[in-house]
Point group: C2
Chain length 199, copies 2
DNA sequence: TGCAACTGGGAACGACCGTTCCAAGATAGC
DNA sequence: GCTATCTTGGAACGGTCGTTCCCAGTTGCA
């Protein structure tokens, strides 16, 4: 057997995720990647292929590591509306403070960039949206079963609304929107679903 | 008096708007601008300055020509909820069909790009958001005066929700979201404001 | 120990980036 | 027609882009 890799591809990809997440693909050069990861151009191209493939890998990793676990937690939460409220609270917290403050959501950012012309990127975007919507829908169905929703509320439609609302939060947070403003807005949206007795 | 300009700066800037709107700043080169506008590098730099200034001018033009008139129409519309419904219908129509289908909103796109690090760009974004929110608020106040809103509905909070929803529409439309899906979602959101008797 | 396989360092590629500069052309007042 | 002033065409700048290539270094197996 020949020589083995001298670095951890997974850790390197995580570094790349943060790079593309914060700056976008178009504004991030290969040199930036080389500098940030510390690994060589040769190793980079041998491991991940070209820039577009690297971006796609980073985007997929973002969804798997960052989005999907949160969606799963939301979908499996048995509390109903409080679960949705907690989802948004966590979202706003992650977007507005801590290490990733002002970075928005990598998938939301990808929507707005020139990246989405790539069919493979587009597929990741659509899948992500579908999963977010489904998780929201599951939580809403749970909420309805517990009598938390106003009578006329359709969980499917409400899930769509909340999913789009999440994108709005992601977008505005990247421009430095105030966390309390966003929280207040989300709270109002949830209140309209649950009536006066919302959690 | 010396020689005069051989081109129309306003028409040229409109061409630039479409270029940046569709592709984003980072993915658009000066060469693209030169090719699309047909005018020379010298004229370009003499008239608009560098790339960043050109982008800022284009972004401001977009807001003035595309966003602001729509906001004004919404704010001044005396019908209440139907005015908001029409706003969203026009938005979805513009985003999903016609010349600009799949382009999203230039301001929404700017949120997600690396552009917003520029304070002047950021200011345009914040101002745009404020104006959208205010227009929405005005329409909601009108709606409430006509008894179209459910009793507990706060126009200020509802305006925030609808503004974020608009960003969500813009974002998803850029990934090719179906117009009918978006319409259905928006209709559901408006229905939750107006109760069973919504227009 | 020699071979084969794969690594990493780093130079180099052509193309394009945003920007600048200069000479030629055009216009208005004298 | 001359001059002054501005515009325009286009070459050219240094730098960076994404990508490729080669060579030395390192490892495991025969």
């Amino acid at each position: 057997m020949p020589d083995i890799k001298h670095f951890d591809p997974d850790a390197a990809l995580e570094t790349v995720v943060r790079l593309f997440w914060r700056q976008g693909v178009a504004s991030t050069g290969i040199q930036d990647v080389v500098t940030a990861t510390g690994l060589n151009r040769s190793s980079l191209y041998a491991t991940f292929g070209g820039k577009q493939e690297l971006y796609l890998a980073a985007l997929r990793r973002y969804v798997e590591q960052r989005s999907r676990p949160v969606f799963r937690r939301l979908a499996e939460d048995e509390r109903g509306l409080p679960a949705i409220a907690e989802f948004f609270a966590g979202l706003i917290d992650a977007r507005c403070s801590g290490e990733y403050a002002g970075w928005g959501c990598m998938v939301s950012n990808a929507h707005a960039g020139a990246d989405n012309s790539d069919p493979e990127v587009r597929a990741v975007l659509d899948r992500h949206h579908e999963e977010l919507r489904d998780a929201m829908h599951a939580a809403l169905v749970t909420a309805r079963a517990q009598g938390q929703l106003v009578p006329g509320c359709d969980p499917r439609a409400a899930a769509d609304v909340l999913a789009l609302l999440a994108y709005g939060v992601n977008l505005r947070s990247r421009a430095g929107a105030d966390a309390r403003d966003l929280s207040r807005t989300v709270t109002a949206a949830l209140a309209s679903l649950g009536g006066p007795a919302a959690a």
